[in-house]
Symmetry: C2
């Protein structure tokens, strides 16, 4: 099929490559043009604008940073809306505001262009392997039509409901995961101060009712002081901002999530925003006057 | 071996039975005497006091509710200390204060009686199956000596360090697990208010980086409004009280754990303290003016 991919960052690069590998005819565009070279070598065609990508594609993926970036690349000058033909579908892999998503979809529908919000989870490793979890919002019929291309980027494709609910599901996923990270760090700081050996802790926690993906995968990194990013603090903070904005719009009180957000702010203020999310422990360490694993 | 078991509650009953099944010569005592009948039928011998159990046993397990209960059954009138011979070992399966544990061990050592703290995780199901995770504190040499009896009650036996560190490990396990529960409930309330279907949520969360034992096992119960206890709110609150006391003694600031404690207090004040810990969601529902899954 004729597929477009706009936004060739850490995630968009491997995701668009998987579309090429799956035999689709892929046209790409990226604001920083040099990033397109790698995709051209992989077999994609470079474009001069998002509009040009849209012109050549039945399915147009977008994967940019934040709500305003999606708005610009879809509705702005030289944007998708200028090139897309009636019946084509914009599939947004970015994580952005559910409300902005609805607004963009409504503008596109005026030109008979459809939209799905399809944020992903699974990191750059899942993106490269094509094993992402994709959370999709939009009309069921459009979802069904897009399934063949969605299957090129992920293994778990979940239909979440109307437009915007893919984003709502993704945001709830971040409440859960980052909340688990915060709990993991409090447990680590408590047990370390008490004097328990890291290996004993990891052994005792593993496989029990307290276990989480975050503790199992990032806990050992904390003990080794390995703060290399799988998922970056700055991006987690963007997601938490979207969570708190959306919760405020829906009048949903959240109690522990705002604390997680403030603790990550402290990590950012110390210049560690490009660390992985396990750097949450650094803010706790400051409060506790101690350092884990050193 | 000659083994004693004191405290035949929900956990102590199946744990002492497993000691019988493993071929040990088991003597039991319980404050409410009628609870001993089942164990006698299983092949254990009933006693008239904790002291009498100690008299007949090389390894004396205790499994009662709280710090004061362990103190009484070990050091009080008719307690273990009155009957235990030099070289025997008290193995405490209760979850209590690490500091009280150290004090009890020190009193026992005056009579050359050894002690291990060995709180467990895995619930009544793990207790019955003999698959508990056991977190052990005390001298390494005593731990090695007790391994054969410990293996009758659990499959994952972790040596955590000196006396009290089994309890510290268990308390950190509760910070982690109950923190994961709180994050799960915030994610569920947020996504439900947004209008996402429960099945879509559970599918999207499962297997991803946000997953936890709590969400995978208790999340579906929340959507079904099944609040039957695996682990009871009142017992979780006892553990959180021990966590916060211990954190205060060690000068470790915890940020999200006290909120979890206060939310569970609201569940208790509504008379739901005997619900399972998934009832955390009830306090959030009150704040959000909504009910999940109804």
């Amino acid at each position: 099929m004729k597929v477009g991919y706009i936004g060739l960052g850490l995630m968009g690069n491997p995701m668009s490559k998987n579309l090429v590998k799956n035999g689709h005819e892929v046209t790409v565009w990226n604001r920083t043009a040099s990033r397109m070279q790698e995709l051209v070598e992989a077999g994609a065609k470079a474009s001069r604008s998002a509009a040009e990508v849209a012109c050549n594609s039945e399915f147009i993926f977008t994967n940019v940073s934040d709500s305003a970036d999606v708005e610009e690349v879809v509705l702005g000058e030289g944007g998708i809306i200028e090139g897309a033909s009636a019946g084509s579908v914009v599939i947004d892999n970015s994580t952005i505001s559910p409300d902005v998503t609805k607004r963009i979809a409504s503008k596109l529908s005026e030109k008979s262009v459809d939209m799905l919000d399809a944020p992903v989870s699974g990191g750059d490793i899942g993106a490269a392997a094509g094993t992402l979890s994709v959370m999709v919002g939009g009309e069921r019929e459009i979802f069904d039509r897009c399934l063949p291309v969605l299957k090129a980027i992920g293994t778990s494709i979940t239909y979440c409901g109307e437009i915007g609910l893919g984003q709502a599901t993704k945001l709830s996923n971040q409440i859960l995961g980052l909340g688990n990270m915060a709990a993991a760090c409090e447990a680590i700081v408590f047990a370390t101060k008490a004097g328990v050996d890291p290996e004993a802790l990891i052994n005792a926690w593993a496989g029990g009712a307290a276990n989480s993906w975050m503790m199992a995968n990032l806990g050992p990194k904390i003990f080794k002081r390995d703060f290399a990013p799988g998922f970056m603090v700055d991006l987690a903070q963007k997601d938490l901002r979207l969570v708190l904005e959306s919760a405020s719009e829906m009048n949903v009180p959240l109690l522990t999530t705002p604390i997680v957000n403030q603790m990550y702010r402290s990590v950012q203020q110390d210049g560690d925003g490009t660390d992985g999310i396990q750097a949450y422990v650094k803010a706790l360490e400051k409060l506790a006057g101690m350092e884990i694993g050193s």
